[in-house]
Amino acid sequence: MVIAPRPRADSPGPQAPVKLGVEKLSIRYGHDPVLEDVSLEVREHEIFGIIGPANAGKTSFLKAVNRMDMFDRSMHVDGRIVFNGVDVHKVRNVYGLRRRIGVVFPLPVGLPLSVYDNVALAPRLGGVKKRAELDVIVERCLRRAALWDEVKDRLNSLGSMLSGGQQQRLTIARALSQQPELLMLDEFSIAVDPVTTMRIEDVLKELREEVTIILVTNLVQQARRLADRTAFFLDGRCIEVGATEDLFTGEVRDPRTRDYVDGRFG
C-alpha cells in the first residue's frame, strides 16, 4: 500500500483522493426518518469528525457505511455510499467490506474470549493460523490501543472481565487487528477516563498515516483536537461540512453550527 504524505492538519487539501463518498443518504427505521439527504466526502488519510447532539443520526450514519442495516429489518437506507469507488450496496462480498472497515462503538463489547483471542479473532477469521504471526499482530494492536502494558501478563484472562475503559481499548485493538482502511469510532471516550482518552487520541493522530478515520464525538473539543474536517449533524441533517478550524473560528455558513460549537445548545 502506498502511504500518502501526511496532510497538513489545518487543510488536508482537496487533492487527496476520496475514500468514502456519500450521496443523498437517507436512513429511516420503519417510518421514522433519522437521517435525511446527507451528502459528504471523506478523503484518504484524514480524520473526519462528526459532531452533533443526541438523535442527530450520527450512529445510524456509521451503521449504514458498514452495512449494518442487514442486521436490522426495520432499518432502510436510501442513497449512495461509495467506499473505495464501490457502492457498498452493490458489494457482493459484504464480509470483505466489513473487514476493511473497523468500528468501535460507545459501549465496549469485550467478547467472552480471552484478551488474546479477542484481538486474534479478526486475523483468524481472515485465515491467519500461525501462532507466531498472530502473536505479532496481537502485541502490535494492543500496544497501539495503549492497552499492552496493562494486559500483557494476563492475555489469557477473559476480555469481558476487563474494566470498562480497558474493554474499550480492547475493542479498538480488535478493530485495528482487522488492518482496516477505514476506522470508525463512535464516541469512544464515553467509557474511558480522561488520561486514557488522551493516550488514545495520540494513537489516532499516529494512525492517520495508515488509515482514514471517521470520529463521531459529542465532545466538540475532541473534534477540534483531532479532526481535519468536521461535519455538524443536527436532527437527521448534515448542517455543515468544513475544515475543523473554520467551524471553531466562526467561518460557518449556518448560525446553528456556531451555537452548537460554542455550547449554546445541545
Partner: protein
C-alpha cells in the same frame, strides 16, 4: 415519631399472613417428593443388592434381578439421544441464528410447541405406524428410541434455542462487524457460550426419556426376554415397562420387587437431574459476562 399507625399495623398483619400462606404452599410442594422417596426407600431398599442390579429375572420375574431392563433403558436412551440431539441442536441453531422472522418460521415454532403437547400415547401410535410398520424396523430398540427421540425433540430444541438466545446480540454484531460470516460467529462466539445450557437441557431430557412408558410399549419394549438384545433391531426390556409389569401383571409378586424397581428407576432420574444441576452451578460460576 415512629409509632405505628393503624394502617401500619394492618399492613404488617397482612404481610405476615401472606408470608405464612405462601410459605406453607411451598412446604406442601415438597411433601409428595419426600413421601415418595421415603416410601420407596423404606419398602424398596431391602430388594436392592448387587444381584438385583446385575442378574436377569427368574421364577416368572418374582425373583432374580433387573439387569436386562436396566441395560435396555440405557440403550433406549442412548439411541434416542443419538437421534434427537444432533437434529434438535441443528434445528435450534437454524431457528435462532438464521431463520428470518416470517410466517413460515412462526409456523415451525408453533409446530414445535404443539409437538411438545402431544400425549405420549399418541407418540406411541405414531411410532408404531411410522417406524415399526412403514420403515419396517419391527418392534425394536431402534423403533422405540426413534419414537422417544421425536418426543424429546421439542424439549431439546427449546432448551438449545433459549441458551443460544441468552448470548447477547451485541456479541454477534461485534463479530459480524469484523467481517465474520454467520457461521464463523456461531462457531467461535455463540456456541462456546451456549454449549453449557444446551448440555443441561440434554441431561434433563435424558431423565425424562428414561421414565417414559407409553411410547416404548408398542414399539420395542418387551414384557420379558430371556436373552439380552444383540442389535438395535431386537426388542428389549425397559425399566419403566418392567415396573408396570411387576406391579400389575404378575401374580404372587413379592412386594419389595416393584418398590425396588421403582427405587432404581427414580434414582437414575435423580442422578441425572443432580448432574444437570451441578453442571449448571459449576458453569454459572464460570459465567463469562
Amino acid at each position: 415519631m415512629f409509632e405505628a399507625t393503624l394502617l401500619n399495623r394492618r399492613n404488617k398483619t397482612t404481610q405476615k399472613l401472606f408470608r405464612a400462606a405462601l410459605g406453607s404452599m411451598t412446604g406442601l410442594l415438597i411433601l409428595p417428593v419426600v413421601l415418595i422417596m421415603g416410601t420407596l426407600i423404606w419398602k424398596g431398599a431391602p430388594a436392592i443388592s448387587f444381584e438385583f442390579l446385575f442378574t436377569p429375572p427368574t421364577n416368572g420375574m418374582t425373583a432374580g434381578g433387573i439387569f436386562p431392563a436396566l441395560l435396555g433403558t440405557v440403550l433406549l436412551v442412548l439411541v434416542a439421544l443419538l437421534a434427537s440431539v444432533p437434529l434438535g441442536v441443528a434445528a435450534a441453531i437454524y431457528l435462532s441464528e438464521y431463520a428470518p422472522d416470517n410466517w413460515f418460521t412462526r409456523a415451525i415454532n408453533l409446530a414445535i410447541i404443539n409437538l411438545a403437547g402431544v400425549p405420549s400415547i399418541v407418540h406411541a401410535l405414531f411410532g408404531v405406524g411410522a417406524f415399526v410398520i412403514f420403515f419396517r424396523f419391527g418392534t425394536s430398540i431402534l423403533a422405540a428410541s426413534l419414537t422417544l427421540a421425536i418426543m424429546a425433540l421439542p424439549v431439546v430444541i427449546v432448551a438449545t434455542r433459549e441458551s443460544l438466545q441468552a448470548v447477547p446480540e451485541a456479541f454477534r454484531e461485534a463479530c459480524w462487524n469484523m467481517g465474520a460470516t454467520r457461521w464463523q460467529t456461531i462457531r467461535r462466539v455463540v456456541l462456546p457460550n451456549a454449549v453449557t445450557g444446551i448440555l443441561t437441557g440434554v441431561i434433563l431430557e435424558v431423565s425424562r426419556t428414561a421414565g417414559e412408558t407409553a411410547p416404548i410399549m408398542f414399539t420395542g419394549a418387551a414384557f420379558f426376554l430371556p436373552l439380552l438384545p444383540q442389535s438395535v433391531f431386537d426388542q428389549t426390556m425397559a425399566m419403566s415397562l418392567h415396573l408396570f409389569v411387576v406391579s400389575t401383571q404378575v401374580p404372587n409378586m413379592p412386594l419389595q420387587v416393584p418398590y425396588g424397581v421403582a427405587l432404581v428407576l427414580i434414582s437414575m432420574v435423580l442422578l441425572m437431574n443432580s448432574l444437570s444441576i451441578a453442571l449448571r452451578m459449576y458453569l454459572r460460576g464460570k459465567k463469562k459476562w
